[in-house]
């Protein structure tokens, strides 16, 4: 009997010790993890999705902040790009454990804002730091605004652009008099001629782009051409299919005219693109400007980057997206932490010339007009694209790396590969979009 009591007393004592130990260690990540709160391991907790060259540039910018504010610490967490990142950001915020500052693509903003996951940036006091509308690329600032409230501070614009091999372009007679840009092309026919000239100049293909298993790139390509002649493919906050059948059909027909004539391959993977473009076997490359670091290191390879000319419409269109800085909503964040977050955002803007090394156009105009940026080629060539930017349509399901891009982009792939006629491409596009417009939205936008 006494033995049993002894055992119980022992257990009680042990339990008490463990409990008090746990309480004493309240600030440890283990304890906060069990309690479900965000550990205050640094003054600014920052989540982003950058690896590779962008990741390295972001680290430089974080270090610049640390240097400028020696008293403040930053903890940066890098999560997987695309859906995994947004799932984690949304779920962490919804469950009350958000970071202080996060990166978000502006194309992903409508849902995050409508779900109430973001703090309006003005509430964080960024206005007092001089972060105001007039100091940003207008298209980006407009996209950061949802229903009159600004939910994000744009860091850059990253458009879909036209790369070209300078040596081949010279041989093909496509360079302008100054020799550092392309002769103006006024429409799709002139563009097709340019591709043909590249091929005649000795390239295996006039142009290449990543199509196989790359629905996002194909969606960007489609969106750019289509936006030249028609509005967004879905309207009413993503509840209505609003495809202009004629515009979509001529967009698909234009795409097929390039591949059917052998000016572009019908299917090509990303590594294939790399191999062909960097060895001078392709004159043009259609891709995001973020590919600049990929080709910069190639020896004896000269290339330049310009915005796409107008293809099927009167004015050039740049399909684009923007990285922006958001402050996820938290009921527990102290005003001091919020102030630190605003300081951090300001510091990243000030250092966005570093960010531009990754190819992106800074959204912060004072950087965009600074020598530090204007000395960067070819980045300075396509600044105009940021002003002509067309983003993903506003809906809960659109945005960088979304399932929407995968589904619709897959149809574009089929058209480019010649497995779907422009006409059946359009009906397939309509049924792709219907899947999303008829789905019950998780949150109502607008």
């Amino acid at each position: 009997m006494s033995g049993a009591l002894g055992r119980r007393r022992f257990l009680a004592l042990g339990g008490g010790l463990a409990l008090s130990g746990g309480l004493a260690a309240c600030s440890s990540p283990l304890a906060t993890g069990l309690a479900g709160t965000q550990p205050d391991t640094a003054d600014v907790i920052f989540w982003n999705l950058f690896t590779g060259g962008d990741g390295a540039n972001m680290v430089l910018m974080e270090n610049a902040f640390r240097k400028a504010h020696p008293g403040l610490s930053v903890e940066a967490t890098i999560l997987g790009w695309g859906n995994p990142y947004y799932t984690k950001l949304a779920l962490a915020t919804a469950s009350g454990t958000p970071p202080d500052v996060g990166i978000a693509h502006l194309s992903r903003l409508p849902l995050l804002a409508a779900a109430g996951l973001l703090e309006p940036v003005q509430d964080a006091g960024v206005g007092e730091l001089g972060i105001t509308a007039d100091k940003f690329t207008p298209a980006a600032w407009k996209k950061a605004t949802v229903d009159g409230t600004v939910y994000a501070v744009p860091l850059d614009t990253h458009p879909f652009v036209l790369f070209y091999n300078t040596d081949l372009a010279r041989k093909a007679g496509l360079l302008d008099a100054a020799g550092d840009g392309l002769k103006p092309m006024k429409d799709g026919a002139a563009f097709t001629d340019a591709l043909r000239a590249m091929k005649d100049a000795g390239a295996q293909y006039g142009a290449v782009m990543s199509t196989t298993a790359d629905p996002s790139t194909c969606w960007r390509y489609f969106s750019m051409i289509y936006s030249g002649i028609a509005g967004p493919v879905v309207t009413d906050a993503g509840t209505k299919v609003d495809v202009d059948d004629d515009a979509a059909r001529s967009t698909f027909a234009f795409m097929q005219s390039l591949t059917a004539g052998g000016l572009m391959p019908r299917s090509l993977t990303g590594s294939g693109v790399n191999a062909l473009f960097s060895t001078g076997k392709a004159g043009f490359l259609f891709d995001g400007e973020w590919q600049i670091p990929t080709y910069r290191g190639v020896k004896d390879f000269h290339f330049n980057v310009v915005p796409f000319p107008a293809l099927l419409g009167p004015k050039p269109v740049a399909y684009a997206d923007s990285h922006s800085l958001v402050i996820p909503r938290s009921g527990k964040r102290s005003s001091a932490r919020t102030a630190h977050a605003a300081l951090f955002i300001k510091s990243l803007l000030n250092n966005s010339a570093t960010w531009a090394h990754g190819g992106h156009v800074p959204a912060w105009l004072s950087t965009q007009r600074s020598k530090a940026f204007l000395d960067q080629t070819p980045q300075r060539n396509y600044v105009q694209a940021a002003f002509n930017a067309v983003y993903d349509p506003v809906a809960w399901y659109t945005g960088a790396g979304s399932d929407f891009q995968t589904t619709v982009g897959s149809t574009v792939i089929e058209v480019i590969a010649g497995r779907l006629s422009p006409k059946s491409g359009v009906s397939r596009l309509r049924s792709d979009l219907k899947r999303y417009t008829t789905a019950r939205p998780p949150v109502t936008i607008g």
């Binding site: 859906n83 799932t87 949304a90 779900a115 298993a213 789905a439 019950r440």
Partner: protein, 332 residues
Amino acid sequence: MTTIASERPAERPTSRVTLRTDRERAPRSDRRAGLLLSSPFLIIYLLFMIGPLLVGVVVSFFNTTTVKSGLGGWVGLANYRAVLEDSLFWSAMWHSVLFTLLTTPLLVVLALAFAVLASRIRRGTVFYRLAFFAPYVVPSSVVVLVFLWMYTPQVGLVPKLFSAVGLTSPDFIGSTSGGWTAVVLMTLWWTFGFNFVLYTAAIQDVPPEVYEAAAIDGASPWQQIRFLTVPLLGRTTSLVLILQILASLKVFDQIYLLLGGGPNQSTRPVIEYIYDTGFTSYRGGYGAAATMVYFVIIVAISAVWYGLRHRRTTVAERAAERPAPRAERRTS
């Protein structure tokens, strides 16, 4: 059965009665001890299995989202209707079934073959058992990392081996057929150890006298395997088969990590579909409805399997009992 009862009215009822009184007479403290001992399991089972299941059932009738608290609006069966009408759900379902069809036969046959071989080895048995089972304990994330390197075009080990013998390697990551090949091969290497262990254990249960007798009768090693080992492992095979079918139908991690369900969602299994809609698209209610549909299908498969096995065993029992009932029927 009725004839049996009429023939022997005294025996069975009494035995049943004694059983029942035995149970009634079990002391209270014993029952309490039983309940107490099983309570940790019961609590965890209720908390993490029955509870979420009920929550899932409830949520599937609402437009619940994962980004806001609360259930959202009532939608009745609309989520279920939408799931059943979604072609992407059915293609994801087909991918899970295809994966099961591709892996299950191989995983069962190879495990059996290697278990038999390992049991016939005289020396180093422990080494072989360990070698075959070792991959199973490696986490999927690590396995995928290793295989991703091996499959990577241009620089991976597998494409290099292909080019060394003058062949073009299939595109393991970028093409649908290549993706399936990559996942199936990786899964084979990774998981067949579990079935291997089940078979090894079953083989050890076979009494050596059986083989001795067979050897005396002049059976060759192959005949021993064919006519003794394989039939004697019948029950194990049936267990391995159902475990493997259920495990394969639940495939998620290796496909998600290796291919992300790509290219173009052509390898996306149904669990990834549920994950994508429920978490990535924040449509919790819809995801729950898809889960319930899938849950019902899995339960149905298990039930059919159980039914088949049950019938087979009862048929076998009846076959074994045949002489006695016949004699009794004749008397009546």
